[in-house]
């Protein structure tokens, strides 16, 4: 019988057994050591370095050979290194400031107003307010159905106790849109609209000497076959020429915008040329749509505003061409929500000539922080044995939904 003896604990057997690695006692939480800089190679002209290249192995005293950079002769998408910025075909010397869907502008709405040469008017325009109040434009049993919609979004949509914030804000918006759209039987113009999500917007404009762009997939867009009617008349539009834009010196208006040198100047609404619904009607934004990017209310309003402006600008470009005062202004609306608080916005683009600070400005009507309800609690809030906030839906405000409905029905009445 021949037995394989392993002398000295494994000299014979180690090549037969699997290699065992028992180093569990190493330190697991150390800092990553800093990168070691390679030794600086000094080139002295006229002096040829003797390298160990021909010898095919390291020899102490000889220098490291320098090989030419090897390039793969075929294209492998898994090993692709992009060229540096200045070698890219779209490189331009002049930088462009890009506003994308994750930009959080420092000055918020003020910055957006300066960038787009717009005058802010607080509150919704009077036509929309009267539309909201008129009884012909109301859903039967409106209050009860809206409250049911809120309760469904906040309480009844899940097998758990309560749905999460992203889920309920999304469900609430869809429920409210569903309620508004059931009016199609009495307002047939609603049938000339369609919803589009995940569309990519691109808009470019010059402001002073700087070039600005808006890019990104932002929210739900409602497109319409007919354009929205203009909200303010020629007189008001002419009056905006006297308005002075608010600056916030010493902060530059390009703060927080992404500065790029490689860009393409394009104006694209996200749809091809012969789209049957060419006009943008309303954009719907959700605060919780992007989990990586949490915007504060002011920044969220700025984002809403910039993308509304982008949509209006692109369509004005397509219809009228660049850089002029529009005789028929383009109107786009926007609604943003976080599940309870709504922001309503109506934007009217009067001019695409945004280079100077004077002249006719664009207008925006902003109704911010409108609450739909106060509390929607699954369990009541009890402090010192007294019920402060009861369970269920509390503090419902019907005016908010009337405004939502008015924005929806604008153009279809």
């Amino acid at each position: 019988m021949w037995r394989r003896l392993s002398t000295h604990g494994g000299a014979m057997a180690s090549h037969l057994q699997a290699r065992r690695h028992f180093a569990v006692s190493r330190c697991l939480t150390a800092k990553v050591p800093p990168e070691r800089k390679p030794r600086e190679r000094v080139e002295i002209p006229g002096l040829e370095m003797v390298t160990y290249g021909e010898r095919m192995h390291y020899v102490p005293g000889l220098s490291k050979p320098v090989h030419p950079q090897w390039e793969r002769d075929y294209k492998d998408p898994r090993h692709y290194r992009s060229p540096p910025a200045h070698e890219m075909p779209l490189y331009k010397e002049k930088p462009c400031y890009v506003y994308n869907q994750r930009t959080s502008a420092l000055e918020g709405v003020r910055q957006a107003l300066w960038l787009t040469k717009t005058k802010l008017i607080c509150g919704l325009p009077p036509q929309l307010l009267s539309l909201a109040e008129s009884p012909a434009n109301q859903i039967p049993d409106q209050d009860e159905r809206v409250q049911n919609a809120i309760k469904h979004a906040r309480f009844w949509d899940t097998t758990e106790e309560r749905p999460g914030k992203e889920k309920y804000s999304n469900t609430l918006l869809l429920n409210l849109l569903h309620l508004c759209a059931t009016l199609q039987s009495s307002h047939p113009a609603i049938g000339r609209r369609i919803l589009a999500e995940k569309y990519s917007l691109a808009a470019t404009w010059k402001r002073g000497e700087d070039l600005f762009q808006i890019r990104g997939q932002n929210g739900l867009l409602q497109n319409c076959m007919d354009p929205l009617p203009e909200v303010s008349g020629k007189q008001e539009v002419g009056d905006t020429a006297d308005h002075v834009l608010e600056t916030f010196y010493p902060v530059s208006p390009t703060i927080d915008l992404q500065k790029v040198n490689v860009y393409k100047e394009m104006n694209c609404s996200g749809f091809r040329g012969d789209y049957p619904y060419p006009h943008a009607h309303t954009l719907y934004f959700l605060e919780g749509a992007d989990p990586r990017c949490k915007l504060r209310p002011e920044q969220f309003r700025a984002k809403m505003f910039m993308f509304t402006f982008g949509n209006a600008l692109v369509r004005a470009h397509n219809l009228y061409g660049p850089q002029r005062v529009l005789d028929r202004p383009v109107t786009v609306q926007a609604v943003g929500t976080n599940g309870r608080i709504f922001q309503f916005m109506v934007f009217q683009l009067n001019t695409t000539d945004l280079s100077g600070d004077d002249g006719i400005k664009n207008q925006v009507w902003l109704d911010e922080d409108v609450e739909l309800y106060d509390f929607a609690k699954v369990r009541p809030l009890i402090k010192k044995k007294q019920v402060k906030v009861p369970a269920g839906l509390a503090g419902y405000k019907p005016e908010t939904f009337s405004k939502f409905l008015a924005l929806y029905l604008h153009g279809a009445v």
Binding site: F155, W156, H178, I194, Y199, F271, R272, D274
Partner: protein, 434 residues
């Protein structure tokens, strides 16, 4: 000794003094039982005690309100088979029919017949119909139908032609290309047809809802363990996520009567469910229609499903499995609709021991963007467990179509070969009302 004395003869004469006098006008006095009924013990360690405990539990469930009923039925967690509506198991529809006691009837009920002779109802009389005339659904005018047709065309074009999109990511084509199209289709059709169906304006449209159902069917002998040799009921759970669904406040009318289902045939599968393959897990037992109990829209109308990304009918055809194409869709329709109608019935208080008094009806459309299959389900019985199924002649019914192509392709900004029949069926499904 008094005990051994015989009873005197006089006593026997007096004993039945009223026996021969039959008084015609008075009723016999109801004899109150002097002692309570003799029932098995409740706490003894015996089979009859266990039986009595089960009976008491059943009575307790029957006597409680609906939300307590649901929580009592789903309270105890045990290992159960998780039934996936979208499964690649072979002949899954036969297995699912056996689990849910459903009979499959090919084709749709008479209400959705596509033949022009059988259709009655309001149609605009057009005296000079050109050849290849446009026909329509009863109740919907020809102009409205033409509008709907162009709406469907525009929606197809928006997703596939007009919107600038990148090539869809691997295995996400359904989510990126077909999902938005189906959503727009459902919403567009619902609102256009709202004036023909008064239920639709009051309905609730859910996007990406959850539907769950838990039931028991059949039993097995426990092979091993401390309970070896005893009978254990087989528990099933369906957790489904349709793409979208419409829930309404009133119930849809039945397709056929309860009695008509007695003659239907349900395939019996002799094998154990885990051979399908089906796997057991233990977690929360949920019964959910898409919204909790307090929601007023508690009845179901139509569900829309998307096939998963790994389901390729051309790949199945290459592997000579073309029959499994329809099997997959049928199994999906069956399981999803059974779960939905079962949950609706549970929400009304019917359960295993209290069978439904009226049939529950729902519809479903399963699509992959081009091919559409239509299913109608009528739930006639929820009593599927061993004790209640022994004398239950009722069966559930599933009607279904083969997959029909909606359009051939999209070329140069136009939809080629739009099939009117599929659009008509969609319209008929959505217009269905009591």
């Amino acid at each position: 000794m008094a005990a051994r004395t015989r009873l005197p003869l006089l006593f026997s004469k007096n004993l039945p003094p009223f026996k021969n006098q039959k008084l015609a006008h008075t009723e016999a006095a109801v004899k109150e039982p002097t002692y309570p009924p003799i029932v098995p013990s409740l706490t003894a360690k015996s089979k009859s005690a266990r039986g009595r405990q089960v009976e008491d539990h059943v009575k307790k469930i029957c006597a409680s309100p609906v939300d307590e009923k649901l929580s009592l039925i789903t309270r105890i967690q045990r290992k159960k088979f998780v039934v996936y509506p979208q499964t690649f198991a072979r002949n899954a529809d036969r297995w699912y029919q056996h689990f849910t006691k459903t009979a499959y009837i090919p084709g749709l009920p008479e209400r959705f017949a596509l033949d022009p002779e059988k259709r009655t109802g309001v149609e605009k009389e057009e005296s000079s119909l050109p050849a290849g005339a446009q026909t329509t659904v009863p109740g919907v005018e020809i102009d409205a139908f033409a509008d709907i047709r162009s709406l469907v065309t525009r929606m197809i074009l928006q997703e596939h032609w007009h919107m600038k999109k990148r090539k869809p990511f691997l295995y996400r084509e359904q989510e990126q290309m077909v999902g938005p199209f189906l959503r727009n289709l459902v919403t567009g059709l619902t609102y256009s047809l709202a004036k023909y169906n008064p239920l639709l304006p009051l309905s609730s449209l859910d996007i990406d809802p959850q539907v769950n159902f838990y039931w028991r069917r059949g039993q097995r002998i426990i092979p091993k363990g401390h309970r070896r040799g005893r009978q254990e009921p087989t528990r099933f759970q369906i957790d489904d996520q349709p793409h979208s669904q419409i829930r309404i406040t009133q119930q849809l009318p039945q397709f056929t009567s309860l009695e008509a289902s007695y003659a239907a045939e349900v395939p019996e599968v002799a094998f154990a469910p885990n051979l399908m393959p089906l796997f057991r897990r233990q977690y929360d037992n949920n019964i959910f229609t898409g919204a909790k109990l307090p929601d007023p829209a508690c009845y179901g109308h139509t569900q829309f499903h998307l096939v998963p990304d790994r389901y390729h009918r051309d790949r199945m055809a290459r592997q000579q499995q073309s029959d499994q194409v329809e099997v997959f869709l049928r199994a999906n329709g069956l399981a999803s609709l059974f779960a939905w109608t079962g949950a609706q019935a549970m929400y009304q208080g019917f359960w295993n021991h209290e069978d439904v008094t009226r049939p529950f009806v729902s519809q479903a459309v399963i699509t992959d963007g081009q091919f559409f299959s239509f299913f109608c389900y009528q739930l006639n019985t929820v009593a599927l467990s061993v004790e209640t199924d022994a004398n239950n002649p009722r069966k559930n019914l599933l009607w279904g179509t083969e997959s029909l192509r909606l359009y051939e392709s999209v070329q140069d900004g136009a939809v080629v070969g739009l099939n009117d029949d599929v659009v008509k069926l969609l319209v008929q499904f959505l217009v269905n009302q009591p």
